[in-house]
Symmetry: C2
């Protein structure tokens, strides 16, 4: 165990129909009006947006709508949201959607109170304030509903960068698993891959010996695997959707890495370049990167890969565990090679150069020079 | 999975020497003076109190000392603390000690802002406010450092009752595992038993089928067992003390029962009577009660006991798992029968009558009439 600070003040309200409590929660927090951030048409078609607006009206909460957030949310749209938030003088930001919507809502919340352009924070400037963020989650995947992270893509520079700050933790996040019943098989699978990805980064790259955290990770991965299979076969299974939703939240809320000491996010680093350059779904990109990275990294931490293989897949060797995970991704319908993700193998050097920018930003460029990133990507070309 | 609300705003600062940050944390929270609550001489002898006072002085935080909290903290002393807090006009309560000290500090914090006598809250009145609570933990056991619970014994009525409120969550708790190196073997063992007890109450008494939560519990119990054995053999093992401290915190911070639906605390219910009547250490009382309660309860949830036996002790039957846990308690030096706890078997009806009062308070008197409690206690007489 290493020193750590754990501080996660987000209030989670979990259960069917509980989005109707958002008006009361905003009122209790003293919020009188919000920027209502959402994505495309799905929340409108499903009736969710209407229900949310009804509870806002009922509680006398004013709101300004700001739709159009895209998957892999972009800086230009974030800046529009910041301008609208300032102009309309909203007191908080309410995200209704998946991780992309919540991420952009956080970035708007940070930018709305700042004197500088919001991208400066993504380049390293310290965040010192934000409007309060609230969220109603519609996708089990990113964990953004219970952390202070946001990832935004700068379309001009092709940088997919992140911020992490205590000020961006949602005050309240409402998790209604029923809202995920209609998520497509592909995106349900990508969500599972994303949650697993969040868990394995620290699990494999930390120093060995923090068994408490290993066990929490293994319990969560086992739960995600079990329920992703049920969801593939029965998309509206209430227990599976609920378990997946809570497991995905716990996968990136700071619990599992607390105390493990330094660790890195290499799979996310490389994947961010795939989605920045090709706009591939984040979970799909991770399914391509993870088996390749594991194959490359396994000799650097063989005991942990052996443990992973035994605990998660009941296999005898680290290599067999990696194969089992890759096959499991494939069985969920995820791409597991660059070709399957429609990404030309010939682009590897370009991708590696892009990812190296993030390696520098995260100060892991010594571990991951562009040549090494290219080497890993070549393993996903096989 | 059932509906739930999870909201745990406590900031945990974990690591050797970090108690020196308390002054800065209080300052950041805008606190200018505190009631400094502690127990007997040990925090003075160890030098901890002097170090805490030094950091308070350095940060310009005023303080009023209030020592003398006893194990199984009592109402009369709590009332003295409330009077002192009011009279001195402190803005917050800082607990330096184990679970008893933190519990009493919370009760003082609640009572200091109330117009009624504090005991009314323990009898069911809703808590609506409290002074901010901060803590520096010296014992891995109760989890009080990261929850809103407090247990106080009314010496006049011999009631050991609890409150649970969002207002009593510590704002900041500092966990320095080095402070637990000198905890006696007996109290180190009792702490481990207490943490296990917190985990098994919901694990066995909830509805079956919430595997995510089962896995978190099993990971924590395995960690507690593993590290309690190391601590027994090497009391100053840094990794074991650190793992135990964090595991005990996670064992009662709301994480593991979130989503499991209704459950009960029968072992705590019965044990509270043992410590209310005989002032036995809480963990020692639990080591007596748990194997008896398990033996009685096992036919009511056989599948979960079989799972427990397999996952924790690699045993084939529920009964074998219960025996293994009882033997493990014994191996740590805990009493596992009333006789070993110096409690006369002839007192069983008196204990059962006392525990039945708490069963009524917790509204589980239908499940646990006094006759049933006596039946369970007779199993601990064997």
């Amino acid at each position: 165990m290493h020193d750590f600070v754990f501080h996660n003040p987000t209030k989670i309200i979990f259960g069917p129909g509980r989005e109707m409590e958002i008006g009361a929660e905003l009122t209790a927090a003293g919020i009188g009006n919000v920027l209502l951030v959402y994505g495309r048409e799905s929340v409108r078609k499903s009736g969710l947006l209407d229900r949310v607006i009804a509870t806002l009206n009922q509680s006398g909460i004013g709101f300004v709508e700001f739709g159009g957030v895209v998957s892999n949310p972009v800086l230009s749209h974030t800046r529009e949201g910041i301008a609208l938030a300032r102009q309309s003088g909203v007191e908080a930001v309410l995200a209704v959607g998946g991780g992309s919507v919540i991420d952009e809502a956080k970035a708007i919340a940070v930018g709305a109170t700042a004197e500088c352009d919001v991208w400066e924070f993504f380049l390293g400037r310290e965040v010192t304030a934000a409007l309060p963020v609230f969220s109603i989650l519609t996708l089990a995947a990113t964990g953004s509903e219970m952390n202070g992270n946001a990832v935004i893509t700068n379309e001009e520079t092709r940088q997919k960068y992140n911020i992490g700050t205590i000020h961006a933790y949602p005050r309240v996040s409402i998790l209604n698993p029923e809202l995920t019943y209609t998520v497509s098989p592909a995106y349900s699978a990508y969500g599972a891959v994303d949650a697993i990805a969040h868990l394995i980064e620290a699990y494999f790259t930390k120093e060995p010996g923090t068994r408490l955290q290993d066990r929490l990770v293994e319990g969560l991965i086992t739960t995600i695997i079990e329920n992703a299979e049920i969801i593939r076969d029965r998309p509206a299974d209430p227990q599976a959707r609920a378990s997946m939703m809570w497991a995905a939240t716990l996968a990136l809320n700071g619990l599992t890495p607390a105390g493990v000491g330094p660790y890195t996010f290499p799979n996310h680093m490389i994947e961010h370049s795939l989605s920045a350059l090709y706009n591939i779904a984040h979970g799909a990109g991770l399914a391509i990167v993870i088996p390749a990275w594991m194959q490359w990294y396994q000799p650097r931490n063989p005991a942990q890969f052996e443990r992973f293989a035994a605990k998660i897949f009941d296999r005898q060797t680290g290599e067999a565990g990696i194969s089992a995970l890759k096959e499991w991704f494939r069985g969920l319908g995820c791409p597991v090679s660059l070709a399957e993700g429609q990404i030309p193998n010939g682009d590897i050097d370009r991708i590696a150069a892009n990812a190296y920018g993030l390696a520098q930003r995260w100060e892991i460029d010594q571990l991951y020079p562009a040549k090494t990133i290219a080497e890993i990507l070549h393993l996903s070309a096989q």
